[in-house]
């Protein structure tokens, strides 16, 4: 969908020469709009910029002048101290492992289920679909106690599986896939079936390769969601070497007390991976949200 980038400027739409007064009001409006947008966009970047600026200031300077922006002696000391004191490499690795595991499992299972609901015919298919639909209204956080008890009795606390498994049944992912599969021409499936391909083969060799937009949308959302999840890993992980990045970062506070350069350095380090993902896939992420409205 390139519409966002190629859409013509609405301010210049009047191709028939408009009356002068209207052109003026058009121009005034554009000026107000642009001014507001730029002012707010800059305001929105202040916290990020300030964190970055503070993280490279020497510790004494932050103490004497906490709200200063610039330093004559930029230093990466705060970053070094974070790496030495915390378990940052572990947290990065744990976040990557749990996010990737969850994403792969979710994409496979949700797409399989969506394919069954969209393309195959069986009794109770509609009932299964309605039951899934109801699942969208169950707020996962409300179920944390029984989920925790189940994992505890299965001996999965402080393990990757403990973080991963409860996040796999992502109903929204099924809906994104189903919506996409519903749009695939029936003839394509029928042709594959007529050639003797089984359902599983039709799914894997015909449908999945042409469903890249849905796969990438779900991949990005599940990945970002799991990476940023705080409450669940907070519950199931107590071992510092098993913590994910968001949970680990909050323990930095306890380690350091108040040194703000370190706090901001850890905030920057926590922000970098996802900001990089976002910069790379900005279009996909934005379109994925727009297309599905998931949160």
């Amino acid at each position: 969908m390139t519409a966002i980038a190629t859409r013509p400027d609405t301010g210049q739409r009047g191709t028939t020469t408009p009356p002068a007064r209207r052109r003026d009001s058009e121009r005034l409006f554009n000026r107000v709009a642009l001014g507001t947008l730029i002012a707010l966009a800059l305001l929105w970047l202040v916290p990020l910029a300030w964190a970055l600026a503070t993280s490279v200031r020497p510790a004494q300077e932050v103490v004497t002048n906490p709200t200063g922006w610039f330093t004559a002696h930029p230093t990466l000391d705060a970053y070094g101290e974070i790496f030495d004191a915390g378990k940052l490499p572990y947290w990065y690795a744990n976040s990557f492992i749990t996010s990737i595991l969850t994403t792969v499992l979710t994409v496979i299972m949700a797409s399989l289920a969506a394919f069954a609901l969209s393309q195959t015919r069986f009794r109770l298919r509609r009932a299964a679909f309605v039951m899934l639909l109801a699942g969208i209204m169950i707020p996962g956080q409300v179920l944390m106690i029984p989920q925790f008890l189940a994992l505890q009795s299965a001996g999965l606390l402080n393990t990757y599986w403990g973080v991963v498994l409860p996040q796999v049944p992502n109903v929204v992912a099924v809906f994104v896939f189903k919506q996409f599969f519903d749009g695939i021409p029936r003839e394509l499936i029928d042709a594959a079936r007529a050639d003797g391909a089984g359902w599983l083969r039709t799914y894997w060799q015909i449908v999945m390769p042409i469903s890249r937009p849905a796969v990438s949308a779900v991949t990005i959302f599940v990945f970002v969601g799991v990476w940023n999840n705080f409450l669940w890993p907070l519950l199931v992980v107590t071992d510092p070497e098993m913590m994910t990045l968001p949970v680990g970062l909050t323990s930095v506070q306890d380690v350091f007390g108040v040194p703000y350069a370190q706090l901001m350095a850890s905030a920057v380090l926590g922000a970098i991976p996802l900001l990089a993902v976002f910069a790379l896939f900005q279009r996909r992420i934005v379109e994925g949200i727009a297309g599905t409205g998931l949160k």
């Binding site: 947008l37 990020l48 195959t120 069986f122 106690i145 109903v171 900001l275 949200i289 949160k295």
Partner: protein, 302 residues
């Protein structure tokens, strides 16, 4: 799976099980981690279940319900949650609408606008909380400094004053999540046909009138979607409050989800916490159902 042409009887039998078979892995996870826990929550609410003892514990009848409903702290956390929902939903809907309406007029530089508003949305809540604890810090935070520029001599303690704490957290939340609604509105604006704009312009409508009388009414469905998703998300608030104030000062920001967390995991009163969970679930369910009803009606009207 066999790819050679099988006799039709076995192939139709295989057909019949293909769908359920492919649904099964997801369905198992769904049952184990969503349906099962939901049933457990309903059941545990009727027992004196404790985290310290295995099993459901003694049957309690409706005593958990009467305890929760008679607990001033339950009502206070619910009030805090609703207050947070109001404080975030109003600006997150109105401001994102205005921003999207403005941004829709420009193509050049749009990536910058989108980046500025959307980048915070991908940050982990832990990072957002660290950032804003620094910004809101007493004496040395940016927020107090800025207010002093405007002539306020004694700025409030943003996170330490019970009157300000929730507002401060809500402001940070608006900063963090507005990009999502902004993008939804941008997408909604794509569906407003150019001809509508042009026709209104030819009729002599200025940009303000076109927005008020033509574009905003056409965004009705998007507004419903944005509002309800926002309300549901806000009712589940936990992370940033837990990290920035732990529910304080003096319980003034403690949300319902934290009451569940504290009574369930810290005090181990699972039965009580389950009852609170179920009541919060019912509130969210109610909002979701109202949303479905609204969407249904909007679809019929179209």
């Amino acid at each position: 799976m066999a790819t050679t042409t099988a006799p039709s009887s076995t192939s139709s039998r295989r057909d019949r099980w293909a769908g359920p078979g492919m649904l099964l892995p997801f369905a198992l996870f769904y049952l184990v981690f969503l349906v099962g826990p939901l049933i457990y929550t309903v059941v545990a609410g009727f027992f004196e279940t404790s985290l310290l003892k295995s099993g459901l514990g003694d049957f309690a009848g409706l005593s958990n319900y009467s305890a929760v409903l008679g607990d001033a702290e339950f009502w206070r956390t619910l009030r805090n949650t609703l207050w947070f929902t109001v404080l975030t939903t109003v600006p997150l809907v109105l401001l994102s609408l205005v921003l999207a309406l403005f941004a829709d007029r420009f193509v050049r530089g749009r990536w910058f606008i989108r980046f500025a508003f959307f980048a915070p949305f991908v940050l982990p809540s832990a990072v957002v909380s660290l950032l804003f604890m620094f910004i809101y810090a007493d004496q040395l935070g940016l927020a107090q400094e800025v207010v002093k520029w405007f002539g306020v001599d004694t700025p409030p303690s943003w996170l330490g004053d019970p009157d300000w704490a929730m507002i401060s957290i809500a402001a940070a939340t608006v900063w963090w999540t507005i990009g999502f609604n902004f993008v939804l509105y941008l997408a909604g604006l794509q569906d407003v046909p150019r001809e509508v704009h042009e026709a209104a312009a030819i009729d002599g409508a200025g940009p303000w009138q076109r927005i008020r009388h033509v574009v905003v009414p056409m965004l009705g469905r998007t507004t419903t979607l944005v509002t309800v998703l926002q309300v549901i998300a806000s009712l589940k608030v936990f992370d940033q409050i837990y990290m920035m104030t732990s529910g304080g000062p003096d319980g003034s920001t403690r949300p319902s989800l934290q009451l569940i967390y504290d009574t369930g995991f810290v005090e181990g009163r699972v039965g009580y916490a389950s009852t609170v969970s179920l009541l919060l679930f019912l509130v969210i369910l109610f909002v979701s159902l109202v949303w479905f009803a609204l969407v249904r009606r909007a679809e019929k009207e179209n």
